[in-house]
């Protein structure tokens, strides 16, 4: 029932998500925290796409098929398209806030940002 070798793809996707979470929690630089967010997004997209695999199937595109092939599930691929665009939107907004923080406080480390706030606040 619990089979780590047959489901090695799913276990490795969970390892990528866990590594991204470790990076987000233990780093002090703002850019490295945003990179960790991107790694979590990549792991989640890989997991969703690999849920739809079927046996020895090919891509679900009907151009030039031979007629007797198994096609993989196309619905998780359509959901992943939306998820990638949303990940890019969140990264763009987070980077613009990081640029503003750098212009105000002259540093990118999270334990030195709040030192001289309050006067400009």
């Amino acid at each position: 029932m619990i089979d780590f070798i047959a489901n090695i793809n799913f276990v490795l996707c969970m390892a990528v998500i866990a590594l991204g979470l470790i990076g987000m929690l233990t780093k002090r630089n703002i850019i490295k925290i945003i990179i960790g967010l991107g790694v979590i997004d990549t792991g989640i997209n890989m997991f969703i796409v690999s849920l739809g695999y079927k046996g020895a199937g090919t891509a679900p595109i009907m151009t030039g098929l031979l007629g007797n092939e198994v096609l993989v599930d196309p619905i998780p691929q359509a959901l992943t398209l939306t998820s990638i665009v949303i990940g890019a939107s969140v990264t763009a907004l987070a980077l613009s806030i990081a640029i503003k923080i750098y212009k105000e406080c002259k540093t990118l480390r999270t334990d030195e940002i709040g030192k001289d706030a309050g006067a400009t606040g």
């Binding site: 891509a59 595109i61 009907m62 151009t63 398209l81 990638i84 665009v85 763009a92 980077l95 613009s96 640029i99 212009k103």
Partner: protein
């Protein structure tokens, strides 16, 4: 940037534009579609921005026109959907005629929706790059 970067930017810019439009236009026949081709189209302009310097390129485009182009792309998507309410049963119904599969016009409204989404995404990527580089490069004097 140096001479090598400028020469290869001049060579690659039309190739990237044509490749982006090819991926958008054949979205219903081969892998690809609106979002993928739109990002390729916007990346051609970002290559121009990096290769030739920020001052020269930003003097040729204006923010207002790029925002208008992006809004036109998003509005075309909604207008095609509303036309589906007039000519067929519901919002975003496929209301154009079908031909034999394999042609450009064989899928109804899908190529035109692809084009609208491609313009939307491409203009948006270029606006994001312009805004970020305007603030980051204003004090370094990078040309």
């Amino acid at each position: 940037m140096g001479t090598i970067v400028k020469t290869s930017t001049r060579a690659f810019f039309p190739l990237l534009l044509v490749y982006g439009l090819y991926v958008i236009a054949n979205g219903h026949l081969t892998p690809g579609g609106g979002f993928q081709g739109g990002v390729l189209f916007g990346s051609a302009f970002i290559l121009l921005l990096i290769g030739f310097g920020y001052n020269k390129v930003s003097a040729m485009v204006s923010d207002l026109k790029l925002s208008l182009i992006q809004s036109a792309g998003a509005l075309t998507f909604v207008l095609i959907g509303l036309a589906g309410m007039l000519f067929a049963n519901g919002f975003l119904q496929n209301w154009l005629a079908h031909e034999l599969p394999g042609h450009f016009l064989s899928a109804g409204t899908m190529p035109f929706l692809d084009l609208a989404v491609g313009v939307n995404v491409g203009a948006g990527v270029f606006i994001i790059a312009l805004m970020m580089l305007a603030i980051l490069w204003e004090e370094d004097g990078v040309d």
